[in-house]
């Protein structure tokens, strides 16, 4: 009851009571413990039992993995002699390079590192606040980066097409970063800056693209003079392996799965029967077949459908298989997201005169993708882990390299440590993705 006091006459004035703090036993660490762990004698026993189980598990792990572990040895025999019940991390250290790079030649491994560093640099602007043109940067990453990375990894002679794409990729990379630097320093986009410097600012807006094209042309010429004759030696894809191969396949699958899935999902909702039926057939076929079957089919049957003088290697075939499989799964996730966007949104977009593609890109997909983030990410996690299946068709991904360690005569029998190490690497990758997606979701929720 609110406290009330009588004023002159019969008007009653309402004054809210002041808030009091809650009782001390319900807040703070003690309150939390009491409420969650020890609210009855039974819960106290369960709490202690659980704590004890956790303790003995970790104690045993600590004993094996750290206290008794051997960090330096020449062979597994030496490991066992030094400490028969400890982990033999020495083996992992010796095999570390192979686990990361497969059989990629030692002298060329910088190319793999450079490839991944370039990817990180290419995508880093996405996390810069207040930068314009992020979508353009993302598109260039999908369109140009794969050629640059592909050449870095594979090397060899460049045909005219590869030459063009590599030079364009470097040009785009440089202009992207010039754009970022100019934006950070002057607060204007590179395009506006170039337009200003060349004195086009007072010309009609339609002419503004020319100075920028000219600027990019100059950079391209510079890149040509710099890298036109640059080349790296060929590394056969048979030698690619380890974590490098795992990440390569995963990243390619992730990058193609989303656009592929969106395209398939839209096709499945199309009003044109041929498109709709083809999409349904494709999605249902790939979803009803295990990935390993898809991989075997990709390797053994794809050559039958291709012209005889156009043969792909096993890695490319496997990657195509994984990408198609991933796209089919993603299509259903996207379809679910599209269905969750209320019909009124489609109608409002239509009623304003937006075309189908504009309303999809500006209104429907942004909302659907936001709703789909948790599903998309769990799909990606599944994909990263599913790539281990390529080891069955003989690609030396990380899992196969880990197994190979225990089959080497000097390290024969070294099975547990590589698998534990592999588990840790996968855990770090997947846990990071999952945490990132949750952070992203929280961030997007605040703007809703």
């Amino acid at each position: 009851m609110a406290s009330v006091e009588s004023q002159s006459g019969d008007v009653i004035v309402f004054t809210p009571k002041a808030s009091k703090p809650p009782p001390p036993t319900t807040v703070g660490v003690l309150g939390w413990l009491r409420e969650n762990l020890f609210y009855s004698w039974f819960s106290a026993i369960v709490t202690f039992a659980a704590l004890y189980l956790i303790f003995i598990t970790f104690a045993a792990l600590y004993q094996w993995g750290i206290a008794d572990a051997v960090w330096e040895a020449e062979s597994r025999r030496q490991c066992l002699d030094a400490s028969p019940h400890g982990a033999c991390w020495a083996g992992i250290i010796v095999w570390f390079n192979g686990i990361i790079y497969g059989r990629f030649p030692l002298d060329e491994q910088w190319r793999v590192d450079l490839g991944f560093i370039l990817l990180v640099l290419w995508l880093a602007p996405f996390w810069f606040p207040r930068l314009t043109g992020k979508i353009g940067i993302g598109i260039t990453a999908v369109v140009f980066y794969p050629f640059l990375a592909g050449y870095l990894f594979a090397g060899g002679e460049r045909g005219w097409f590869m030459q063009t794409m590599v030079l364009l990729a470097v040009t785009v990379f440089i202009t992207n970063w010039l754009h970022i630097v100019v934006s950070m320093v002057t607060g204007r986009s590179l395009r506006e800056w170039v337009v200003g410097v060349t004195g086009f600012a007072d010309k009609h807006e339609r002419l503004h693209k020319y100075p920028m094209l000219g600027f990019q042309g100059i950079v391209l010429i510079g890149v040509y003079l710099w890298l036109g004759n640059w080349s790296v030696s060929e590394v056969n894809t048979n030698l690619w392996g380890g974590l490098f191969l795992t990440l390569l396949i995963s990243v390619l699958a992730i990058v193609t799965a989303l656009p592929g899935g969106v395209a398939l999902a839209l096709a499945r909702r199309s009003h044109m029967p041929v498109i709709r039926v083809s999409a349904i057939a494709f999605i249902e076929l790939f979803r009803s077949v295990p990935l390993i079957t898809v991989l075997f089919m990709a390797v053994t049957m794809m050559p039958l459908f291709l012209p005889p003088d156009f043969q792909l290697n096993k890695l490319v075939q496997a990657i195509i298989g994984v990408c198609l499989f991933a796209a089919a799964y993603m299509a259903e996730v996207v379809r679910g997201g599209l269905q969750a966007v209320p019909n009124g949104q489609y109608e409002a977009a239509k009623a304003m005169g937006l075309t189908y593609w504009k309303s999809m890109n500006l209104i429907i997909l942004p909302q659907a993708l936001k709703l789909m983030i948790p599903n998309i990410v769990s799909n990606f996690l599944g994909l990263v882990k599913d790539t281990t299946l390529v080891s069955i068709i003989g690609l030396y991904d990380m899992l196969l390299m880990l197994k190979a360690a225990g089959q080497n005569p000097i390290w024969i029998g070294l099975h547990t440590e590589p698998l534990v190490f592999g588990a840790i690497v996968y855990f770090i990758l997947c846990f990071a993705m999952s945490q990132y997606s949750q952070a992203l979701e929280r961030k997007l929720k605040t703007t809703r």
Partner: protein, 264 residues
Amino acid sequence: MSEEVVLSGGEEHIASAISEEVVITFEDVNKWYGEFHVLKDINLSVRKGERIVICGPSGSGKSTLIRCINRLEPHQDGHIVVNGVNLDANVKNIDAIRSDVGMVFQSFNLFPHLTVVENCTLAPMWVKKMPLAEAEQIAMKYLERVKIPEQAQKYPGQLSGGQQQRVAIARSLCMNPSIMLFDEPTSALDPEMISEVLDVMVELAETGMTMLCVTHEMAFAKKVADRVIFMDFGEIVEENAPDEFFGNAKVDRTQLFLSQILAH
């Protein structure tokens, strides 16, 4: 419900500026949803500047009728001509017609991932290719007209229903349409918000906009409508000037309907 709503600026009918030019024509229009005959032999012509209120019981085809005007729903038989363009299966430029016909929905249908001002600038920028600065200027002009310029940077989810519907009206007006369609714009709103939306619509009527409103707000109809249309079972049952319609309806079905909603 009509008793509760008080429109500012009195009750008397506001002056209309109807020109001779016919902007919408329905000619023997029939429409089916599957087997269900939802519009039956509709004939109607709307002149520029005319304000028409459509009422009728639920399921009578009111929404379907006005959604045919921007071809959110296709019709199967007869002719609909909007601004001189015949809407049929091979209409070339339906998006151009839609950009000239604004529509306000019962459920607002604002884009929740965009701010209020982004909601308003989206179509001018992407359909009319207007530069951002100009689109924002126009958006602010109309947000002021609907009396919520201070909400421009908020997201629709942060606004009350009445405010959202006013944003939806501003969003349509930003395309500078020649015709506005309203499909029960106030029926999802709490009573105290209805009049703020109706006031905006009355002001819009005063500017001479061609308007078709599906609504049961009789005070609004009396004040604004040049013609009131009553529909039932997919037919236009009665079509009359508001005084006649409310005082002296000719058809028994109309009288029954009016007695039901006025008795409320």
